[in-house]
């Protein structure tokens, strides 16, 4: 028996033991096997640590190979004694306890080490990782004493740890650096659904949050974020990633990249040493899931004791093991050129499915809420099957797509019975829709109007349109009376705004899910619109999404053709002071403004400022009492005034003073488009008030309020809204008018086209005839302003979003000695 060659395995984990199983299955008599394990226990199923932590399984239930297995196969298990050195010359290993053991073949299966971010306090007692039984034991001990737990890392491991700890009664906060959870497996839409599901289970999920330090006296007391927030906790779980454990291999001089480099037969740079599992690098890739390890173990055993088959790398898929949350992801979902997204959302069932197809092949899939077809998509993906024949039905899943004739979705819809429910929200059957179409409803809008089908969540819009196609054939133009917002949705701007209020939708991914957006994360036309609609609907709660803003609104300055910026400080009502002018002159000198120009909006524009200098120039202008002029925004721009009764021999009222008051009331407000105001002191109208969105012409007896003017591409003069007697009324009507426009116009509509559509009478009815309505509009405007009137320049000058203004680094090549 001692004549058999000796196979030593370092690592009693999933890959090490599986490799031994595969070898035994092919040739049980070939080797004498010794397994060294750093952990003092038998081989168990590491992925089941999550259910173990959650209390759904016991340790006995997750053991893969018990002592009988080792004994029965003549395997010597040395548990709790780590190998500390490999001597390749002498072909032997040494353990921590000093034991020396010679080998003929050596298998390194040391797995990975959890990565610990080196923030201050990372070595405090109570900071744990999530990798083995000992980690679970520490977590359970902490859970016994209750209190708060912080999990750093919102990936698969972190979320499973958070789930377990929260089932164990802890108050859990997950801190995740990226804006969406599990960003490497899930897209924004699915990540958001997951986040809200976890939040509704009582966890706190902080995305886009960066840990500054873990604080505590001798042991963890909490975590401080870079933005200053503090979260008290008695335990901190670091689940930010893993690193292949290559220490031994490196020290032994084996070829090591990110992992231990192996060939297709899992042989390292030393022919007598093999390696398998998370510690290896094959073809430039390292893996962190078990499926690839199983494939590696088969190839390893084939190569060692049978006919070499060769490992060719793996495609992986991920499932989250949190009871009641079905999340699946496979392949590549980053999209990009040539990729086509097929999206299905069902808001009522909480389902989001996205399949990414490239050149008629499935290249990725993200499923949330209904993962039943995950394996089918994964199979199509791995086999690279041509999906063109089932393309239209693909997203509905295997049962539907493989249904032969019914692979044509039109046939499937045609085959539905008359009492089949089409619109779940409003309980509308196929029969009533067909009746409506026969009765003359020949467009989607018409069907919506007479049956309410697809008028709520909109997810059945496609079905209704198919019924129209079936009933009307080529006569169904597909055209809508009111155009949808963009190609990501079948809803119009007005529908979307109404739904946001009715369903209390607060963030972009929530709108997209509830309204069945057909793209995963919208486009550059709907994102800014949604961001605006949300901020208008929920002034107190809205969270800005900077990625949904155009560059000028992100930088709070206007980009110029050479990439520099222009800076326009607010000059209330066009009035300035020597001090302000001095500060502007100083800033122009200090930051090298290449031109200072008087704008058409009665203020000064400094041109040619570099983005790096923006926070500094704003700080200087702030110090002189000036704030952002929003010359870059879909926002209140300027309030132009003329000199008025203070000086002018014709002036009837204090137009300058009124203009300044209006600008103080309205500045900072975000709008569907830019908004301009002017106040002229008499009908000579030197402030050009009759081509502004809101203009005031002062007359002896009061103020004429003019609305809907535009001096831009299509010249449009204002129309008279009404005449009021006092300054206060002029202010009140102005606020009410702005709010009506903010709440009802489509994004990117100036007041002029909006008024063309709704008509002057409508606006008069809302603002002039309905006193209570006007007062309510005005109150809502002022309420919104209490959140919006924050100078964005001051925030930036104080350091917010500093990264937008700084280079990440700089490259200076070696100086050429002696010059050229």
């Amino acid at each position: 028996m001692t004549t058999k060659p000796h196979l030593i395995v370092i690592g009693n984990g999933m890959a090490g033991c599986r490799a031994v199983e595969e070898i035994l299955a092919r040739d049980s008599g070939r080797y004498r096997v010794t397994i060294f394990g750093a952990e003092p226990r038998v081989n168990y199923n590491r992925i089941m640590l999550s259910p173990l932590l959650a209390g759904e399984k016991s340790f006995e239930e997750i053991v893969i190979n018990d002592h009988d297995w080792y004994a029965g196969n003549g395997i010597q298990l040395v548990a709790g004694d780590a190998v500390v050195a490999i001597d390749r010359q002498a072909k032997r290993v040494t353990t921590a306890s000093g034991r020396v053991e010679p080998y003929d073949k050596l298998l390194i299966a040391t797995g990975s080490d959890p990565f610990i971010i080196p923030v201050p306090g990372h070595d405090l007692k109570g900071v744990v990782t999530f990798r083995d039984m000992d980690d679970v034991a520490s977590m359970l001990r902490a859970a016994d004493s209750g209190g708060g737990a912080v999990v750093i890392g919102g990936g698969l491991l972190g979320l499973e740890a958070a789930h377990g700890l929260s089932l164990r009664g802890m108050k859990v906060t997950v801190i995740h650096l990226m804006p969406t959870l599990m960003e490497r497996q899930l897209d924004e839409a699915a990540g958001w659904l997951l986040k809200s599901a976890l939040e509704s289970r009582g966890q706190t999920i902080l995305t886009g949050a960066d840990t500054a330090e873990i604080y505590g006296n001798g042991k963890v007391e909490g975590v401080r974020l870079k933005d200053g927030r503090e979260i008290p906790a008695s335990i901190v779980v670091m689940a930010v990633g893993i690193r292949p454990n290559v220490k031994l291999a490196k020290a032994a001089g084996l070829a090591v990249g990110r992992g231990i480099q192996v060939d297709d037969h899992l042989v390292t740079s030393d022919a007598d040493i093999l390696s398998v599992g998370e510690c290896v690098e094959h073809d430039g890739l390292v893996y962190g899931l078990v499926a690839p390890l199983w494939e590696m173990c088969r190839a390893l055993a084939d190569g060692l004791v049978a006919t070499p088959s060769g490992y060719r790398g793996s495609v992986t898929s991920t499932k989250l093991k949190v009871a009641g949350l079905d999340v699946f992801s496979a392949g590549d979902f980053s999209g990009g050129e040539g990729c086509e997204d097929i999206v299905l959302r069902d808001a009522t069932r909480g389902v989001y499915k996205r399949v990414i197809v490239k050149q008629d092949r499935v290249v990725g899939a993200v499923l949330y809420g209904d993962t039943g077809d995950g394996n089918w998509y994964f199979d199509l993906l791995r086999k690279g099957e041509d999906v063109a024949p089932i393309r239209d039905a693909l997203i509905f899943g295997q049962a539907f797509a493989s249904g032969g004739a019914s692979a044509n979705p039109l046939d499937a819809v045609a085959a539905l019975g008359a009492d089949a429910e089409i619109c779940g929200c409003n309980g509308v059957s196929k029969g009533s829709i067909v009746t409506a179409i026969d009765g003359g409803a020949c467009s989607l809008d018409a069907v919506r109007a007479c049956t309410k089908a697809s008028a709520s969540c909109g997810s059945c819009t496609g079905l209704v349109e198919k019924l129209l196609t079936i009933a009307m054939g080529d006569d169904y133009a597909g055209a809508r009376e009111n155009q949808p917002m963009c190609k990501c949705t079948s809803f119009t701007h007005e529908d979307v705004r109404a739904q946001i209020l009715e369903k209390e939708l607060k963030v972009i991914p929530q709108v997209m899910q509830a309204l069945s957006w057909s793209t995963p994360d919208g486009c550059s036309s709907c994102r800014p619109a949604l961001n605006y609609y949300l901020l208008c609907a929920w002034p107190g709660e809205h969270q800005e999404d900077p990625q949904s803003r155009f560059v000028n609104e992100r930088m709070h300055a206007n980009i110029q053709k050479d990439g520099s910026y222009s800076v326009v400080p607010r000059m209330w009502g066009g009035v300035t002071t020597p001090n302000e002018l001095r500060a502007i002159a100083d800033a122009a000198d200090k930051y090298g403004a290449r031109m200072v120009k008087v704008t058409g909006g009665q203020r000064l524009d400094l041109f040619g400022i570099q983005k790096e200098d923006l926070p500094a120039i704003w700080a200087d202008l702030n110090a002189a009492g000036m704030v952002s002029g929003h010359a870059y925004g879909k926002a209140l721009r300027t309030v132009k005034t003329c000199v008025g009764s203070e000086w002018c021999r014709f002036g009837t009222q204090d137009s300058t003073g009124l203009g300044i008051k209006i600008e103080h009331m309205t500045w900072g407000s975000w709008m569907p488009h830019k908004f301009k105001i002017a106040v002229s002191g008499c009908p000579r109208n030197c402030a050009e008030a009759t081509i502004k969105d809101f203009g005031i012409i002062c007359v002896d007896s009061g103020y004429e309020l003019m609305i809907g003017g535009n001096g831009g591409i299509h010249l449009r003069g204002t129309e008279l809204l009404c005449k009021v007697a006092t300054e206060q009324e002029a202010l009140d009507y102005c606020a009410a008018f702005i709010q009506l426009y903010r709440e009802e116009a489509r994004y990117l509509d100036r007041t002029a086209p909006w008024m063309e559509r709704v008509g002057l009478d409508y606006v008069k009815q809302r603002i002039v005839e309905d006193d209570a309505g006007r007062e309510a509009l005005r109150a809502r405007f002022l309420y919104a302003q209490s959140y919006l009137q924050k100078d964005p320049w001051a925030e930036r000058a104080a350091g917010a979003e500093a990264h937008l203004h700084q280079h990440i680094a700089e490259i200076r090549p070696f100086a050429v000695v002696g010059g050229r």
Binding site: E337, S524, Q547, G563, K611, P813
Partner: protein, 112 residues
């Protein structure tokens, strides 16, 4: 043919769906982008149309929309997408251990 990689800092310093700039003394400024799922790309920071600073554009999928006239440029190939024609040099970058590494040769291509 071992490429020489320059370490330009931790990947967290790049905003998701955003970009930052990397000036090269004597050469052309580089824009480093980060996509929604954490991939990193680098292009010369000048649009093939009229040299718009691509680092200031909106990042979408694996493309960036130029802030000046809305050309869409692929982060992967540097090619203009859709109807537009033009190409900007791509500089190889990779992430290793949470650090961004950029290929020295291409980064310095424009210098002399």
């Amino acid at each position: 043919m071992d490429a020489i990689w320059l370490d330009i800092g931790p990947v967290e310093q790049l905003p998701a769906l955003g970009a930052r700039t990397l000036p090269v003394q004597g050469g052309e400024e580089i824009a480093i982008f980060r996509t929604a799922n954490g991939e990193v790309y680098a292009l010369v920071n000048a649009c093939p149309h009229k040299q718009g600073p691509l680092s200031q554009g909106i990042v979408h999928d694996t493309s960036v929309t130029c802030p000046l006239h809305n050309w869409r440029i692929s982060l992967v190939t540097g090619e203009a997408l859709g109807e537009d024609k033009g190409c900007v040099p791509v500089i190889p970058v990779k992430i290793d251990g949470g650090r961004i590494l950029i290929s020295r040769a291409e980064a310095l291509a424009g210098t002399n």
